[in-house]
Symmetry: C2
Subunit: 263 residues, 2 copies
């Protein structure tokens, strides 16, 4: 087959805008409003125009604006505030969680470069969240269970990155890889199930597993361990909406069958 | 020849430390001491332990420390202050100047990724400066004349990166590429001439060019244009110390010959 040169062209402006419109930065419990402002500024520099915050209180507008500067004020005006992470992520199909380097792990396998290489081809068809934890402790395991991808910035022994710096490096990687990708590279991205669909499926699966006493209700730690293991391998597959429906169909059928037998 | 697998191993800890010890961040006329502190913090995260500032006044220590946090306080204590850029750069052989996206240039050819790909192989044997201009205007053409490399972060139409973010993205690129490079990749880097040696050579060349009236002393703008053109093509070569000596030897010989003839 003849290779058409035009297919090798760089991503078009339309493709770029479509992909970027699907990306949001999600800050979980950020302590300092200044960091929200700084994150807004660097996100806008990379063409990302949605910023979500999960936080009990609305952050102080003036403190955010000080770091956002007037150029990113618009993004602060459109800031989306949620009290609950699951609700915030409901519409997203691709969730990337960022974690700090652990202990002596000098070369994390999932650097922003590697992770964004997997995420960029999915952007065109999937709402994508880049998620960052609070300044003092990062994301918890409970936050990370929503993530299909994780990303770790490689750092020297001294490791204490500012929140907005971590946002900046991830936005830079995503934007750089997208901008220099080829036209069509993101066009046929499979449409993934959203967090809302996935959480419904996990709830359904849990119901079945309790029914068959795979989960015992007597040891919550062990139950959580199994549930997280299931999340991890199902998460890796990158389930599509119709696949989620098939799995839920199976759960529903099992629960119906079990009820019939009990009669 | 048999390929030894051990030669393909990743860069060793010793090679990494040796390369990083040659790197410095140079901030030209930074306005806000807080930005110096934030730059110190992100530089240390990437294993970079020299920070130079070119500034008329010593920056306020408390304001720097506030953003550096106690973890990068050591780098603030060792901050090197210079009043003059040429003096600050004298010992450096590789100088990278960072510039903002110009106008509608959507895809700069020299992104941090591309530039660091050229710089990393030189690190082992050459003191290397990553240079950043002031917050409100960036580096001037006069600052950029010292640079063998330039680097531009790709940004969306909205372009107003915070100084410390620009430092962070460049340090991340350098550290990432170095950390994942192969052992030996930086071992045989040619030793380049320093800024001090190069500036001596350019001064000598200028003297010759004035003598032969290639430079006319009547039109300073035009003289500067020619001098910058010469800087640009000689800069691209990556001259080594002994090559600089050869060029200066030629200049010296010409000036001697000219003097003899005049007698």
């Amino acid at each position: 087959m003849e290779l058409k040169i035009s297919q090798m062209d760089q991503i078009t402006e339309n493709e770029l805008q479509k992909a970027l419109a699907n990306v949001a930065v999600v800050l979980v419990e950020p302590k300092y409003p200044e960091n929200i402002g700084a994150a807004a500024r660097v996100a806008m520099n990379c063409g990302i125009s949605r910023l979500l915050v999960v936080r009990q209180e609305e952050p102080d507008r003036e403190k955010m604006l000080k770091m956002a500067t007037h150029k990113a004020a618009d993004l602060i005006d459109r800031l989306e505030c949620y009290e609950n992470l699951e609700t915030a992520l409901a519409d997203f199909a691709v969730v990337v969680g960022t974690t700090a380097r652990q202990g002596r792990q000098r070369r994390p396998p999932n650097t922003p470069r590697v992770t964004m290489g997997q995420v960029v081809p999915l952007l065109a068809e999937n709402r994508t969240a880049l998620m960052f934890g609070p300044e003092h402790r990062g994301l918890t395991n409970d936050d990370l269970k929503f993530c299909r991808f994780t990303s770790t910035i490689p750092t020297a022994d001294f490791a204490s990155l500012n929140l907005a710096q971590a946002v900046g490096i991830h936005c830079y990687e995503l934007y750089h890889q997208l901008l220099y990708s080829q036209s069509g590279a993101t066009a046929f991205a499979p449409k993934q199930a959203t967090t809302f669909e996935l959480e419904g499926m996990y709830g359904h699966l849990e119901e079945v597993l309790r029914k068959i006493e795979f989960l015992k209700n007597t040891n919550h730690l062990q139950d959580d361990y199994w549930l997280n293991t299931i999340r991890k391998f199902l998460g890796r597959i990158g389930l599509q909406s119709r696949e989620v429906k098939i799995i839920r169909g199976f759960c529903r059928q099992f629960l119906w069958y079990d009820q019939q037998r009990g009669k």
